[in-house]
Symmetry: C2
Subunit: 364 residues, 2 copies
């Protein structure tokens, strides 16, 4: 078997230091499991701008296009806040998503038993929570044309962005979500604002058609986005898989992530379409951001990035055994009482980023 090509993009802020812990796991896999990867490391976001004058250089994008998977840390920070719109760190992230065609963003919101008290919600509301939000990632308001700011004849300025989806864009994200629902509890909730936005009327129509023609074994429900935000707070366990457009998905997945109280624990996957061999382009990244305020202090939680790597092993490399081992190691370490600062609780042992990484290796 030729080694899988993995592109690692630590990015900005704590991205660097959490990725170091993943590298330790990769080393361990080489030594103990005899699995090696063909690894390239690259720059994205502000750190790419500092070197290349752009948040995503063409070479890096080319590396991403030829990789079997990309593992990303996080982008952004106050250092680059005043850059023009199209140089900002975020543009690098949006560009790599778009160019790689990563239309399906999978964002789990799960509560680890050992961390149920980290939530601001009452334990019975979130215990055992296990939601998967499927967010459309390459369409909608994020990429719609026309966009920009223009000056009107009367001297006023006007800002414009466009929310737009075609039927084929809706169908492919719909299928990704239905396929996932099929592997879980066969319940899919599609979130829209079909009482106000025609674009999401089309969304709803296409979801209904898909269910009727290809996914009759999956139960499809619909919810308006405002109600979905409410229901996530009121009773999140009513949901299994949710599917929604890009902007709604950005908001709802962050809301859902925070229900768990431990953002530092949540991985995500962004997937493209499958090719003839069933391979899909893929990028894995933690849900948390670059947290520049705690950068370099060795206190960031590396577990979300480690779990993103385990998602990568599972979804892109078919290494379920190794993915299971990593996930079990994470659970065991938490059960043993180790906590980074963000998930620290009375009676537990506070550890640094590096000690947390070390403990995972020891557990493995």
């Amino acid at each position: 078997m030729t080694a899988k090509k993995l592109l690692i993009l630590p990015g900005d802020g704590i991205g660097q230091e959490v990725m170091v812990q993943v590298r330790r796991i990769i080393d361990w896999m080489g030594k103990k499991r005899n699995i090696s990867f063909d690894i390239t490391e690259g720059l994205i976001g502000g750190s790419a701008y500092d070197v290349h004058g752009t948040p995503l250089a063409d070479e890096t994008l080319a590396d991403a296009m030829s990789a079997d998977a990309v593992l990303l840390g996080a982008v952004g920070g106050p250092k680059w806040d005043d850059l023009p719109f199209d140089k900002k760190p975020e543009r690098g992230l949006l560009k790599i998503r778009k160019e790689m065609g990563l239309f399906a963003n999978l964002r789990p919101a799960t509560v680890f038993d050992a961390l149920v008290d980290a939530s601001t919600l009452k334990a019975d509301v979130v215990q055992g929570l296990d939601i998967m939000i499927v967010r459309e990632l390459t369409g909608g308001l994020y990429f719609g044309q026309p966009r920009g700011i223009e000056t009107l004849p009367n001297g006023e300025r006007k800002g414009v962005n466009t929310l737009t989806y075609t039927t084929s864009e809706i169908q492919r994200i719909g299928r990704a979500a239905f396929d996932l629902a099929r592997k879980r509890n066969k319940k899919l909730c599609s979130v829209d604002k079909a009482n106000v936005l025609e674009c999401t009327v089309l969304w709803r129509e296409e979801m209904i058609k898909l269910q009727q023609t290809e996914y009759q074994d999956v139960e499809l429900t619909h919810m308006y986005v405002d109600n979905a935000a409410m229901q996530l707070v009121r009773n999140p366990k009513q949901f299994d898989v949710m599917v929604t457009e890009n902007m709604f998905g950005d908001i709802l997945s962050d809301c859902a992530a925070m229900l768990t109280g431990s953002l530092g624990m949540l991985p995500s996957a962004s997937l493209g379409a499958a090719d003839a061999n069933g391979n899909r382009k893929a990028l894995y990244e933690p849900v948390h951001g670059s947290a520049p305020d705690i950068q370099g202090k060795d206190i960031a939680n590396p577990l979300a990035t480690i779990l993103s790597f385990s998602m990568c092993l599972r979804y892109s490399f078919n290494m379920d055994a190794e993915a299971d081992m990593i996930e079990n190691a994470v659970k065991a370490v938490l059960k043993g009482g180790l906590r980074t600062a963000d998930i620290m609780a009375p009676g537990k042992a506070k550890v640094s980023t590096s000690v947390m990484g070390e403990s995972i290796i020891r557990e493995l």
Copy 2:
């Protein structure tokens, strides 16, 4: 003093029955406080469609335009789900907001001490919560052109909505929010997605300009909408006044409302621009919807509508004394242990819609 003109639009679902309880308070004001109103009642939403074939008849809109204030119940229900897009109950609500120019939607999220346990969040996270969300209500994705669904040459369909704001639209909602912040804790958080959407880059620029030129005494902060959804769940008490565009405001205000755990308690006000005499068009409505599933059962919570009426007395009619009386009556009744089904808790007395209304009158 000539009687104030009040248009009452009970709407659909529980709208009718909760409004009956407001009428009792109005009667009480006539008898005990010698205050009478010039009241017209009208139809909106599905019940207007059933009679007029449209969710908002021209006569009703004319009544609204000439009223000193409008009090609305709620619109919508499964009965009208299959109507064409432009006949749906919601169109009536959107049309009255737009035609009356009600660009500033004030949505408080407050936790009554007696109801702190109704929240799914831990008591210490929400106790004393008192946020005001100022949502832009007549622009953005809700009304932007172009909009609709078109068929492309290749047979696919494409849905489009447009997010657009002009500088003057941003300034007027900004001023409304800054004015409110000035009356409260002088802290305003403007929510946008300026790292992705140019339209909200303009939003942020205009908010900054307003602060620098007219509101230097108010502290202005900015937050991305995804982070705002997180922070509302993580630590809602960090906020005082928030201002945001229409669609974000729809989502965030419902999320914030649910933090309180008692949607049946939350009023809202939608205000237009002040005329030369300082009068502004205004519509008051509860945050909850028409709840068709419990319609006619005499179990709906009338307090949100009663509190909307008290907001009306305060903001439109300068009747602060009466508004205070109503709000104190609500607090007293809750303290006395009466609860409608939606806010019922162990050890409290469960009462019907009508008994709740009666108890408020008795307390008054």
